[in-house]
Symmetry: C4
Subunit: 344 residues, 4 copies
């Protein structure tokens, strides 16, 4: 693997190469954000307002960066964000991503809009940690069916989107995105409509249906997080949909302190959006997150090198988190001193 | 309509196309601001310092974005700002703008410097909501004549400019703007001079003259707003003349909280200037405005596509306001939670 | 005059044209600042952090923008900063500047390094208001001689530099500036050395020597301003030498509030540096200054059009100050409401 | 010397010329920072947030800019930061740097990764002030050997790195840096491994081993600084390794107030990183530092002109510090008024 072009490139350069190998509509669909892209920019920029206050003269010969997120063990606190239609990025599709997740000990949040079924993934990678992301379909029976399939296939977490409550397409028309020919959804023939009437009842209904932890995705407010927890959620995934939906929504890192203040230590909080550097992981954890997700960087890794590309992206994060923990005098990623970060 | 080039373009791209189809002096006259353009830039930039703190797990199947502004009902809280000489932008002129206003249920603030008379507009679009904007002429009889004509034609609001108190031309000489050949003012042969001696008496005089609500335009200070209300104003249109007059004036959104604090719930406050996104509407309303106006975006829509262009611009705002309200968990646009917005 | 190219250009474009007509070393010498130019940039940028909170519904038919600065009457509160060797910019040199000052009713601060003598200026423009700027020569007799000449010639203010206390040349070597051939200093054959041992005694000595008001130039601290006033100064000219000396000195507008707080209403405070717009004048006055100086804009006016150019620059400021005062509801430039400005 | 090209260039232009004369991998290795270069940029930018509040009317005919840093006398408070492999920049290597240090009365922090031995330097420049920088080798005997050699050679300070606690290479792979052919390390045949188990014990061990002052380098936190001092350190060198190690670490100037607050006047604090102007020296000292180091500017001086280039760089700082002290009314560099600087 180390002689391949994929390996000779730095993962930080994958986006640039992805733009060269992907059809423009596919790249545009991955890279773009809603409207003027402000939320997308904000997610990244929010991390850049924090700096690490590195601690020295600490014995860091043994550093543990593994953790448990909503009950699932991972080798490092970086999960793969749910992204649909991964075969549009590379023929390996979700199988490639699963290869990278397995190789590095990450966690795969499989999208309901996947082009490879959860059963096929679980069969090929039986040891892989994975969760399933759901849309707020207006067909509860269909949702129940998916949840039961996930349980049977070995899923360890349910991630219902709770912020997809309008008929919006994030993608500017000029991107020209269409589902590539020959690519099919793996979990349904045709997608049910969406239910814009979601309330806490939705979480309660789901919590009664399954013993798997429910981690709603798409929350940015503390009051909403607390309502979700009181309704049965066992984790909160802070997300503005990767800046793809509401063009001037608060960034996810800026939303983190309010959510942590509201739910305290009751449940794990995950930050989705804007993570581009290993230091971003330390910053989010120092501010109270249990883990983060990465989306676009993984998509570019998949586009450039299939499973090998995803592996290299995730390994770059994993190695970076460990090295930066050592440089910061941290021996356990679950126990960050509150003053590790300073705001600019 | 949907196959036309106008329809295939995004309204967010209209300015770019307008610059291609308009003579340079006309485009320059529309696009430019006073001096170094700081106030023009500020108006837009002020909105970019706020973010939406979207609420989820709210039933948004029924969302009402209609409202009443200074007594006039509109289908969504976005009005068309007064802009003179619209035939310079497109042969349809004010008739095109009226077509768009009527099609979307907005409100047309007709400029006294219009190139189509209010009577002609009202005859062609009898159901359209409209107000008339006045200059501070030094001929009160002439002003009275206009107001009486407006009343007779079905106008529902009077918008006297109160900040045009010096002989300044915003337009840099190098723009080279001149009234296009064949274009004539519809409401007067030659414009009276301006009165630079305006005081509260001006509002009082006007309030005695008509029972229509008076909404002075060009106020940025709370104390001025309160004086105007005490003199009989029934609305306040915060404006720095689109950044076309005083080069380093406070931006209109930054002025909003002070005006709202001064006049409270006594009258409706409207923000004029800088609105470019549907989220800007939500931001202004969350900070206390009842509605906003849009100027340049409508002018570019008119330039590109006449009535069809204006319709598409206004519909883009209307659809966007509704969708973003749903994504923010808002069911009634008149009842925004104070914490909907956060300052960066 | 109005058909000349000088008149057809906007004064805001003079710098661009000056760069075309001046030899590069002369333009570089005028335009550059010390080291990386930070102080020069800062002087201008400091004004851009303030906005005008315009007042309306005020009768502004009669507006007075004249004032008295350290005892000298001017038609508007904008003085010409001391700049040496003006014949390097244009053959008319200081005579051109004096023409503009006289035509507009400004005040000329003549530099001791002038290329036209104060006596010649006073003879040609007997009604012109003017002060003389001094260096801290180490030859008190020579200084006394200059002061006596100034008194005899009708000078109404003495402006001793107090911040030229090291052998520094602001001009980067690569600018290549040299005194142009044929240009001579008008007030001395060869300049005395400088005295780096200045204390309050310098002001006291000078105050005993002359009854003219002493306005030390080069102060940015409140404590220094107060010491100077206690030693006999009757005005303070806040200056960092146009950003030409200390590369990261506090900007003059940022220094203004501290100086005003220290000296209160005892003496007039003048801001030198960064004034580029009429609104800058209002901003400085609202923050406590009695007047401002303009330097580089006048030099560019001189370079482009001699006396005609200077006249147009000063008139642009004068007209702008009057118009913006009217737009802000100000009837007397000496009586600005404290809340006229808001900080960004 | 003054006719040479080296002398005709300004030291502020040396980086530009160094990029022309150095092989790209060498320039890249000197100029680059870790990851996206944020820490490198931050170090410089932190100084730009402070301005000098210059004092006037002070007798500055006699100004003393000499000081004593951790017991070593220097003619001005600017030291040369430890940089390895200087023969990569210029054939003169460390000998060139020593020539400049000697000529200006600075202090040379010799890197353990030097390509000229400390004994050779001391023999050639017997009067030069110098310290030795150490890596945290996992071979204490080898470390002890170096320290004893340093003592014997006339060293006056030991600078152990305490922040090199992970196997990271700052240099992006695409820089392509390799040790130039024919260049050899002077202090060892092959470098021992590093010890990632450092604690205060490391300082205590070293303090018992030598009577030379120990100045640990790589500290940014007040608590770490205090622990180091309690363990025997007699100085603190605040450093983030020139932004070459942890990509989003706090800048060194931003770290200064916290370190000064923690260790008070017990030991001297030195700021390493971001110093590019004479004013930066005054800023750091006003905020509590006793001295600063300069790294890259010296490396560029060496690359461009060997010893002559280093001399000119250091002399530019020395002259600048003295001139700016005079312009700020400072007569003793060790006694800066706390209000000399203001934050933007």
């Amino acid at each position: 693997m180390s002689d391949s072009l994929v390996a000779r490139l730095s993962p930080t350069d994958y986006e640039q190469v992805a733009q060269l190998v992907l059809p423009a509509p596919i790249y545009g669909w991955i890279a773009s954000g809603a409207d003027d892209g402000q939320s997308l920019t904000d997610n990244v920029a929010a991390f850049r307002r924090w700096r690490l206050n590195a601690k020295v003269l600490v014995d860091v010969r043994n550093v543990d960066i593994s953790t448990t997120v909503c009950g699932t063990k991972v080798d490092f606190p970086v999960l793969v964000a749910p992204m649909g239609i991964q075969k549009a990025a590379h023929p390996e599709g979700e199988m490639g991503t699963a290869a990278g997740v397995t190789a590095t000990g990450s966690l795969f949040v499989e999208a309901i809009n996947a082009t490879t079924s959860m059963e096929d993934l679980a069969a090929k990678y039986p040891g892989m940690a994975w969760w399933i992301q759901l849309y707020n379909w207006d067909d509860r029976k269909a949702l129940e069916g998916i949840i039961k399939r996930a349980e049977a296939a070995g899923c360890s977490g349910i991630v219902p989107l709770v912020n997809t409550t309008a008929d919006v397409s994030h993608t500017p028309a000029r991107v020209g995105y269409r589902l590539p020919a020959g690519v099919k959804f793996a979990h349904f023939e045709s997608s049910p409509g969406l239910d814009f009437g979601l309330t806490e009842e939705y979480i309660e209904w789901m919590a009664k249906l399954t013993s798997l932890p429910i981690i709603p995705k798409g929350i940015v407010r503390g009051d909403d997080a607390l309502r979700a927890v009181n309704a049965g959620a066992r984790g909160i995934m802070i997300s503005n949909h990767g800046g793809r939906q509401l063009s001037h929504e608060v960034s996810t890192l800026d939303a983190l302190p309010g959510v942590v203040a509201a739910v305290g230590k009751k449940v794990d909080v995950i930050v989705d959006g804007g993570v581009r550097h290993p230091s971003d992981v330390l910053i989010a954890l120092a501010l109270g997150a249990k883990a983060v997700t990465v989306g676009r960087p993984v998509a570019y890794g998949l586009a450039v090198g299939g499973g090998e590309g995803v592996t290299r992206v995730l390994d770059w994060f994993k190695t970076g988190v460990r090295d930066e923990a050592m440089l910061c005098g941290i021996t356990n990623i679950n126990d960050l001193p509150p003053d590790l970060v300073v705001r600019m």
